[in-house]
């Protein structure tokens, strides 16, 4: 059989990762920030790595890495409404986002006559039936295209697939900034629903961003939605989800966020001046940008603690006021999210 006769669907993704999936942590396996955050009322990264929950004045939420998942998956990201807002103000919105660097998207040939179609597939489960609008938003050129999926049955895992056309008008920047935002609209006020959901790329229009959405998941504390198995790939069909090794997926996430989960020692740098301490930590992978580092003391809990050097490769901590004989350790997180 010649290679051209082998169908994509016959190629197993279980043992030979092709990196065709542009999504990081699509199976929601990695949760470096912890498995659950309650009381979410504003935007941030919670629970599952790489998924950003943009909440702007609409409800209160618990965001968690759930073990409820369809066959073939171990986890999902669950958004649960804990304080309802059934009458949101016009500009309110809640959107689950996945943000991708432009340098990872150049092969889509966006902005050329060869612009490629992409297909998004994912599993979802919600207590409410209705429509959810899903957008590809071009953050470099303020353009977007949309698709709509329907929750047909309550509390049932369903697989959804959307194929988006290519955009011949404008391309993604070739850099490490956020170029593509995938948006799952959870709920919103009328500013975002007054238009028509576009199925071809267009300039941004606020009223079109959630015009196809009817789920309104902020309207009751009974509401939830689980999502997992997220895959974005070039082409017009959704292939089997690409299950990458856990360590590989963790490394991909650590480009954006790193929690070493252990102490780093600060050592005296001269024998005659034990107060001046230094400690260094390399990052396991090169981070996207020089990260924001949040250091806190470990064993020793007073005195100056800061960053002497910081780069995409690692960080050096300092302290200049540690009493002789004190053990000094630091714990930290490093964030370079989009």
């Amino acid at each position: 059989m010649s290679l051209t006769q082998i169908k994509q669907s016959n190629i197993s993704s279980d043992f030979s990762p092709s990196y065709r999936n542009l999504i990081i942590n699509g199976a929601m396996q990695i949760a470096q920030r912890g498995t659950s955050t309650t009381g979410v009322t504003s935007a941030g990264y919670f629970a599952c790595d790489r998924f950003y929950y943009y909440v702007d004045s609409i409800g209160t939420w618990t965001v968690e890495q759930s073990t409820d998942a369809p066959d073939g998956f171990g986890n999902s990201l669950k958004l649960s409404c804990t304080t309802a807002d059934a009458s949101p103000a016009v500009g309110d919105r809640a959107i689950l986002q996945h943000r991708i660097e432009g340098q990872f998207l150049q092969h889509l040939a966006k902005g050329t006559t060869s612009a490629k179609k992409v297909t998004l597939s994912f599993w979802m489960k919600s207590n409410k039936t209705g429509n959810m609008q899903v957008n590809l938003y071009d953050n470099d050129n303020d353009r977007f295209v949309s698709g709509t999926v329907t929750v047909n049955a309550s509390a049932t895992w369903e697989k959804k697939t959307i194929t988006f056309v290519g955009d011949t008008v404008s391309g993604y920047d070739n850099d490490n900034a956020a170029s593509l935002l995938i948006e799952w609209w959870i709920d919103s006020g009328t500013t975002w629903t007054s238009g028509t959901a576009p199925t071809t790329w267009q300039a941004n229009s606020a009223g079109d961003r959630n015009a196809g959405g009817t789920l309104a998941l902020a309207d009751s504390t009974s509401n939830y939605v689980n999502i997992t198995g997220v895959q974005l790939e070039v082409g017009e069909s959704a292939t089997e989800f690409e299950h990458r090794p856990y360590g590989t997926e963790l490394s991909l996430c650590q480009r954006y966020y790193y929690d070493p989960l252990t102490y780093r020692w600060l050592y005296a740098i001269t024998t005659s001046d034990s107060g001046n301490r230094r400690g260094h930590s390399d990052y396991p992978v090169t981070m996207r940008a020089t990260p924001t580092v949040t250091p806190t003391w470990g064993q020793y809990t007073s005195g100056t603690l800061g960053l002497q050097f910081s780069s995409t490769q690692g960080v050096t901590f300092y302290s200049d006021s540690v009493p002789a004989g004190s053990y000094t350790t630091v714990i930290f997180t490093a964030e370079a999210e989009l």
Binding site: A289, T290, T292, T294, P295, T296, Q308, E335
Partner: protein
């Protein structure tokens, strides 16, 4: 949100090239690709002023 400048390394005297976000003691580098630094620049543009570095 308030910030504090970091000044120089106490031992070497070299600039630390960061600003501290006081809400969580996060050290934000002067890297324009860092989204926290972008937020700090917006805060400055609104006319706000960070606290001075420790002596």
């Amino acid at each position: 949100m308030t910030y504090k400048l970091t000044g120089n390394d106490p031992l070497l005297g070299t600039p630390l090239n960061a600003v501290i976000r006081l809400a969580d003691n996060a050290w934000i580098p002067f890297d324009e690709a860092n989204r926290d630094y972008q937020e700090y620049l917006e805060w400055l543009a609104e006319g706000n002023t960070p606290e001075p570095a420790d002596e």
